[in-house]
């Protein structure tokens, strides 16, 4: 009977669709479970903790509403940490992108020793930020430090490099940049290699100056690499932690703290888990907002070209 056959086939189709759906769900399940348990649940429970005066280990705590959020805006240490976070995040994004692009333009030319030099620039990217911080300590130490030795050789007085806030923050920005500039460099190098040579040849024949060639050909065609690099550096720089821990632990005083090291301080040292969780939410929201806004802007720019 035709109608039976048809409904039979439909049932078969439905069953195979059901099997296909189930297989799909099974393939997604592990990742979904991990994200649910270790990302989304903590995010939500962090909001809950931020409304309490929990110390991190006690069974007892009370709800204090928005107190921590109010305190956050008045706390001078948090303000310092916020400004530093922006310097580490936005500063290192700008520095490493300009620096990395300059290196990429250099290493895009062929010359003797190019491979070795490129490997030397890239090698520090492999090393943990914490260990890089300790390694730099031997350069920056007040007595016997390599930099002060060099200063002495030029007849200059030794400097306590990490004792002054401005200098310490700038040094942290510089050290994280010189360590990770190789990463931006290789991404820009890969981007440069996708630009056809004939564009430059044509522009050169038309007498376009080097700067204009860079502005009108190189930069627009590097847009995907720029977006990748800016996003990577923003996310990395805004949550800078290990280098600061190795070099200053946030000191002297609270002057070099970032949001990340401040969260660690509030939790581990002050045992103020509620306040620490509040700052965690602030860090999460800052990174989300800045990254999304910058990305939107860059994508719009890319479309314009």
């Amino acid at each position: 009977m035709p109608s039976d056959a048809r409904s039979g086939r439909r049932a078969g189709l439905n069953r195979s669709r059901l099997v296909s759906r189930l297989q799909l769900a099974a393939m997604y399940a592990p990742a979904m479970l991990l994200f649910g348990a270790f990302v989304f649940y903590p995010l939500l429970s962090g909001v809950q903790i931020s409304f309490t005066d929990w110390n991190g280990y006690s069974q007892h705590y009370s709800f204090i509403g928005l107190d921590h959020y109010r305190k956050l805006f008045r706390d001078p240490n948090i303000r310092t940490a916020f400004v530093n976070t922006l310097i580490y995040g936005i500063g290192s994004t700008i520095v490493q992108n300009v620096w990395g692009l300059a290196y990429a333009m250099l290493f895009n030319r062929k010359f003797a020793g190019r491979t070795v030099a490129r490997a030397a620039v890239y090698l520090p990217v492999m090393i943990s930020g914490l260990i890089m911080g300790y390694i730099w300590y031997f350069m920056l130490q007040y007595s016997g430090g390599a930099l002060n030795d060099a200063m002495a050789a030029f007849g200059l007085a030794p400097v306590d490099w990490l004792a002054d806030q401005r200098r310490a923050v700038s040094l942290i920005l510089f050290i994280t940049s010189i360590q990770y500039v190789g990463q931006a460099m290789v991404i820009y190098l890969a981007g440069l290699q996708t630009i056809p040579r004939m564009y430059y040849e044509a522009a050169e024949m038309d007498g376009v100056r080097a700067w204009s060639r860079f502005r009108r050909i190189t930069l627009p065609l590097l847009a995907p690499a720029i977006i990748t690099n800016v996003t990577l550096k923003l996310i990395g720089g805004l949550q800078l932690f290990d280098l600061i821990m190795a070099l200053t632990s946030g000191g002297p005083g609270f002057s070099t703290h970032s949001f990340s090291t401040m969260i660690n301080y509030l939790y581990f040292v002050s045992q103020n888990a509620g306040y620490s969780a509040t700052l965690g939410i602030a860090l999460f929201l800052s990174i989300m907002t800045i990254t999304v806004v910058v990305n939107r802007y860059l994508y719009r720019k890319e479309v314009e070209y």
């Binding site: 393939m27 270790f38 020793g113 620039v121 300790y134 390694i135 031997f138 130490q141 949550q239 965690g280």
Partner: protein, 271 residues
């Protein structure tokens, strides 16, 4: 290219190489000098002295730390490859509104800073009795390194032609059969990239072990070094030797696999 450039470029390259390796050179010089040798750190010792390295190994318990870190890195890497590729396949192949949402969720997770969830995550793990356990930290490291792994796999799978998929589908292969028999065998290059990028990230991680592995027995390299640095605050030689020792494995790995490192970092980054 003009003559001046031809002479200048190698010089500039050499200068840059020196500048970028300078801190490592200084640390090495500190590590190799006798404590009584007060010459400048710029000056490399002209004798051999390895006691600092011995101290670092024995007092810093670096060997055990290396072992622990290796166990963590390998287990996390296996999970990242298995779950990453399996999640990426349907994401890359099936266009649906649900998948688009799912992809945005994954990108969103990539932006969650470690420290921002550390308080609630720690209290949750504490309730699960998962502090100081390998399974606990492996699951956490897997979760937070998974988004980029999925992303790299999905980007790569999009470049594989669909013909084989279609043929297998006609033969009655389901999603999983397709993935396991047709797609998985083709994923070697991107798997190398994931292993290198993420293996390195896990190997160098500091934040998660700092919170979730607090016993000296199961500490990782970064923890061992930071503890050793605060314990031996006046024995600069040994501290420096420990830092240098931590750099050795990644350097060797990098020099051996340089080509893959760079392609691993750039593949999918500029598409």
């Amino acid at each position: 290219m003009s003559r001046t450039w031809k002479i200048m470029l190698p010089l500039v390259g050499a200068l840059l190489a020196v500048i970028h390796l300078l801190p490592i050179y200084v640390a090495l010089s500190v590590a190799l000098k006798r404590p009584t040798d007060l010459t400048s750190r710029w000056q490399f010792p002209n004798y051999l002295y390895f006691d600092h390295f011995k101290n670092a190994f024995l007092d810093g318990e670096l060997l055990r730390a290396f072992g622990n870190t290796l166990v963590l890195t390998v287990s996390t890497a296996i999970l990242l490859v298995a779950i990453g590729s399996m999640t990426a396949y349907p994401l890359a192949r099936i266009r649906s509104r649900l998948n688009r949402v799912w992809m945005n969720v994954i990108l969103g997770v990539m932006m969650v800073p470690t420290l921002s969830i550390i308080v609630p995550l720690y209290s949750m793990m504490n309730r699960l009795n998962a502090i100081n356990t390998y399974w606990g930290i492996v699951l956490i490291l897997t979760t937070y390194n998974l988004p980029l792994s999925i992303f790299l796999y999905a980007n790569f799978i999009r470049t594989i032609p669909r013909e084989l998929d279609e043929a297998a589908k006609v033969d009655g292969c389901g999603h999983f059969g397709l993935f396991y028999r047709i797609v998985l065998p083709q994923l070697a290059p991107v798997t190398a990239a994931v292993l290198i990028l993420k293996g390195l990230k896990v190997w160098n991680d500091y934040e998660f072990p700092l919170y979730f592995l607090q016993k000296p027995r199961n500490q990782t390299i970064t923890l061992a070094i930071s503890r050793f640095f605060s314990d031996t605050s006046f024995d600069f030689g040994s501290a420096s030797a420990a830092a240098v020792l931590a750099v050795v494995p990644v350097t060797v790995l990098f020099l051996a696999l340089q080509k893959y490192f760079v392609s691993g970092l750039t593949d999918g980054a500029i598409k």
